[in-house]
């Protein structure tokens, strides 16, 4: 008979913390260098292809899709690792170095799984819902400025485009909830739509505030205006609350704790994706994490000076800032409990909307001056 006597775990915790810090720094560095590689080689090719509108469009779409897919692989691993560190455990460990290949293994497993459609489901709706949810997310990446040069399409109305397109995620979620013909799903879908549409309002207000200050809707121009000073620093009295509201709304849009009601595990099993399995389930995950990256990237664009930063190349700066924001979101996710649906809606309409209106008015006054 023996017992493991747990001695004071201070040094253990310190080791865990610094080990984690070093690992995450290495990962962030590697991850931010990743997007650099193909682009340098492709540049001459790009110049050639750039002359052909169709090839050009195809190549950009190809790069965006692959970037999203690869980055999501990494982000899922990071999330699990992050959760592990926060919860005093190790996280994925066995597939590849520090479990880096775990997501890939999971993805392969999901590929090979049987694609089950419930007998009484609305087959078409059920089949199309994951893609309805993924497509808008993918589209938003089109206007995300990684640097002045690395933006798939510098649309004049970029910010408006993002708002218009990303709202459609709700459609996919509702379709999934409705199509599966499962009562948990329909509850999840209904919650998701109510929540996504409500939180869109303060979020758009905050985007509008930045747009008003920058005098442009182009994502690239918004960043260029911050060449000397980040928005959040230059206009800190309004922009700090604006960023906090934006972050809150982004969490709600992403269905992350404390706003993960549409997929609240302890109540609705898995909410709108209860019935999904295999690749279709993977697409929901893909959409969620791609959306996560985009939301963080959008926040960086609006408030944190986009790609601007010393020494390192712009793309690295952008990715680094985005990853830090993503880590903040993960930190919130693994710390907080979940709100109830009436509290979520009440918080939006009674707190966020009035505050965001006030902030917008003040911003407009600043812009007028």
């Amino acid at each position: 008979m023996s017992v493991r006597v747990y001695t004071s775990s201070k040094s253990y915790r310190a080791g865990q913390f610094f080990g984690g810090l070093i690992v995450s720094l290495i990962i962030i560095a590697v991850a931010s260098l990743l997007p650099l590689l193909p682009w340098y080689k492709l540049n001459p090719v790009l110049d050639f292809i750039g002359l052909h509108p169709w090839l050009n469009a195809f190549l950009k779409a190809f790069v965006v899709v692959n970037f999203v897919a690869l980055h999501v692989l990494f982000l899922i691993w990071l999330e699990r690792k992050f959760a592990g560190w926060m919860q005093a455990r190790l996280g994925p460990k066995h597939v590849g170095w520090q479990g880096l290949g775990q997501t890939l293994a999971d993805a392969i497993k999901l590929f090979l799984k049987e694609d089950i459609v419930p007998a009484k489901a609305d087959r078409q709706l059920f089949a199309i819902a994951p893609f309805l949810s993924f497509m808008p997310t993918l589209l938003t990446f089109m206007v995300l400025p990684f640097s002045a040069a690395w933006i798939a399409y510098d649309y004049d109305l970029g910010a408006l485009f993002v708002v218009a397109v990303s709202t459609n995620v709700a459609l996919g979620v509702l379709a999934a909830g409705w199509g599966a013909n499962n009562k948990y799903s329909i509850l999840g879908g209904a919650r998701a739509v109510a929540q996504l549409l409500s939180y869109e309002i303060p979020m758009v207000m905050m985007i509008l505030a930045v747009v008003t200050l920058s005098d442009t809707m182009s994502m690239k121009q918004i960043v260029l205006r911050q060449a000397h000073m980040w928005n959040i620093v230059a206009y800190w009295p309004v922009m700090i609350p604006a960023f906090l509201i934006f972050l809150t709304c982004a969490l709600a849009e992403l269905n992350r704790t404390p706003f993960d009601l549409p997929e609240a595990e302890s109540e609705l099993v898995s909410g709108f994706h209860t019935e999904y399995s295999g690749m279709r389930f993977a697409f929901f995950y893909l959409a969620e994490f791609a959306n996560n990256f985009f939301s963080a990237g959008f926040a960086v664009t609006l408030f944190f000076g986009g790609w601007y930063g010393p020494i390192l190349p712009p793309v690295v700066w952008f990715t680094l800032k985005t990853l830090i924001l993503i880590c903040v979101m993960m930190w919130i996710r693994w710390t907080l409990p979940r709100l109830r649906i009436d509290q979520v809606m009440g918080f939006c309409w009674k707190v966020l909307v009035p505050i965001s209106l006030v902030i917008y008015c003040i911003t407009a006054l600043i812009a007028l001056k």
Partner: protein, 371 residues
């Protein structure tokens, strides 16, 4: 066919929560009728874990009943062992040595801590805070290690038996317990900072599932449920058994009667249990740990009722003997069963999310409900 719009807007959407559901804590099935997000009515359906334990007791000699009680409230098996052992001792007029009583109380309190730690973890997960679950289970792991050191088992101990306990404390046990308690005190404070004061956790639990003092008494609630409603009802104080009357501890009582109050009662009970265990180490006399028992145990005809305070409430065994080898009738008064019967009244008009919050705060164990 997909659902039509009339089916969805009608007040009668019935949801079957369980028996396979992440938050019903076992094989409980809740037939919940919903109007949108609001619960119209709820009917708990039990019996999925029914094993006929009370009947099985009748076909076993007294001492062979003990292993079954491990499977009642499997989160606090030692408390069940104690309850049935007491019933057997009362029916057979067996006196238990002092040292054995101290060891029993100590182990039961340690099991209470482990059980309440499971409650904290699962309740936090019910509310959505997944990290607390891991922290609570990490601490429970240490408690289980201690119990393993003592009894050799981690969940179904089969340890406390009529007449005393089979072995004395192992070497170095006190030191191990003290070091675990030192850490537990720190991590409890950590948990308080992370969860108890959390604004979201508070709005989810304060004022939810309120049980008034009168209702709690009328329903026959016991344990942390009734103490969360402002009634200082603790078997260890009102009808002391073993050595509880020689020990100094407080009974935490909160008046609000909501989920938060029940949660706080359990947190405070962990601290009190640690106090009790530390006193047991101090006061424990040297001596026998087991009464001499006959090889073939035939108690005189008669009946006995033993009341104990399990982590869930008043756990009692009623035992009837006719002088033969086996008991004639054994009845278990399981606190979880009585708390579960309060559920339909508690859940009327609450939101779906509150169903889980309220059910979790009652801390039922289905092994005990179904028996």
């Amino acid at each position: 066919m997909p659902l039509t719009s009339t089916e969805i807007s009608s007040p009668g959407m019935t949801i079957n929560m369980g028996p396979q559901h992440p938050s019903t804590h076992g094989v409980l099935r809740l037939l919940v009728e919903l109007d949108g997000e609001v619960v119209h009515s709820c009917r708990p359906v039990i019996g999925y874990l029914h094993r006929g334990l009370e009947k099985m007791f009748e076909a076993r000699p007294y001492r062979q009943c003990i292993p079954f009680t491990d499977r009642l409230d499997y989160l606090a098996a030692l408390n069940n062992n104690l309850a049935i052992s007491q019933a057997v001792e009362r029916v057979g007029n067996i006196a238990v040595p002092d040292r054995a009583q101290y060891i029993r109380v100590m182990l039961c309190e340690m099991n209470r801590i482990a059980s309440h730690l499971v409650f904290i973890g699962t309740y936090a997960t019910d509310i959505g805070a997944t990290t607390v679950f891991l922290y609570a289970f990490r601490d429970r792991e240490k408690m289980l290690d201690l119990l393993e050191m003592m009894t050799g088992a981690r969940l179904t101990y089969n340890w406390i038996r009529p007449g005393g306990v089979p072995t004395d404390l192992p070497e170095g046990f006190e030191k191990a317990v003290r070091s675990v308690f030192e850490e537990l005190k720190v991590t409890l404070d950590e948990n308080n900072r992370l969860l108890t004061g959390n604004r979201i956790f508070r709005v989810r639990t304060e004022g939810i599932g309120v049980i008034s003092k009168e209702h709690a008494i009328a329903w026959g609630a016991t344990g942390p449920v009734i103490r969360g409603s402002g009634v200082p009802y603790d078997i260890r104080k009102i009808a002391p058994y073993e050595v509880y009357d020689r020990l100094d501890f407080d009974v935490p009582v909160f008046d609000q009667g909501d989920c938060m109050a029940r949660y706080l009662v359990r947190i405070e009970e962990i601290r009190q249990s640690m106090r009790i265990v530390e006193q047991c180490f101090k006061d424990m006399p040297e001596g026998e740990i087991m009464t001499k028992m006959p090889k073939i145990f035939r108690p005189p005809a008669g009946q006995a009722y033993s009341r104990t305070e399990s982590p869930r409430g008043e756990l009692s065994f009623f035992m009837v003997s006719d002088g033969s080898l086996n008991p004639v009738r054994v009845h278990v008064r399981a606190p979880s069963f009585i708390h579960l019967s309060m559920l339909p009244d508690l859940l009327k008009g609450v939101k779906v999310a509150d169903v889980i919050a309220i059910l979790g705060s009652l801390d039922t164990v289905l092994g005990e409900v179904d028996r």
